[in-house]
Amino acid sequence: AQSVTQPDIHITVSEGASLELRCNYSYGATPYLFWYVQSPGQGLQLLLKYFSGDTLVQGIKGFEAEFKRSQSSFNLRKPSVHWSDAAEYFCALKSSGDKLTFGTGTRLAVRP
């Protein structure tokens, strides 16, 4: 069975500080991994995705994520957080059967 774990429920950072959101997965084959962002009361927007090749992937809004197979992780990073980045972030894994499983999300707050 596949699963995604986001160990941090809430994170607060100061504007301009760096950010790392953790994501760990469990899957028996090559994972296809995604990060989404959700503003309050809205649908989800894709930030970036990994399916092969370079393990460091770049996304929109200055985000990047690094796939580490040995650690079963796909952590999301941003060097300098903006107030507009406050939202909820979801890591997701897609299996070969097209089943898409999400983590429980990390809510990010940004201090002025």
């Binding site: 649908g43 989800l44 399916f51 997701a92 097209d98 089943k99 898409l100 499983t101 999400f102």
Partner: protein
């Protein structure tokens, strides 16, 4: 380009009443379709997904059911709502057999069961 429509945006229903949420996709054929529920503080729970007409996989035994009467239409239903059915419901689609592509989400339906 492809678009996904989900309605209604908000819904308040009494306990024991039926439910029907509809989702349609335009601009593509044979999509994978998904229903998710997002309860407060509980992340996105996959309820159903479908790889074709009449093919529904249920992930969580519960009070809900899903149907796909047409290729690009996905319906979430309940015969009798429970208080615990309250939440934010999201429909999504992805390209069939393209595991390396993302899912695209509708704007969601906020369901409150009273």
């Amino acid at each position: 380009s492809q678009t996904i429509h989900q309605w209604p945006a908000t819904l308040v229903q009494p306990v024991g009443s039926p439910l029907s949420l509809e989702c349609t996709v335009e601009g593509t054929s044979n999509p994978n379709l998904y229903w998710y529920r997002q309860a407060a503080g509980r992340g996105l729970q996959l309820l159903f997904y479908s790889v074709g007409i009449g093919q529904i996989s249920s992930e969580v035994p519960q009070n809900l059911s899903a149907s796909r009467p047409q290729d690009r239409q996905f319906i979430l239903s309940s015969k009798k709502l429970l208080l615990s059915d309250s939440g934010f419901y999201l429909c999504a689609w992805s390209f069939l057999d393209r595991v390396d592509t993302e899912a695209f989400f509708g704007q969601g339906t906020r369901l409150t069961v009273v």
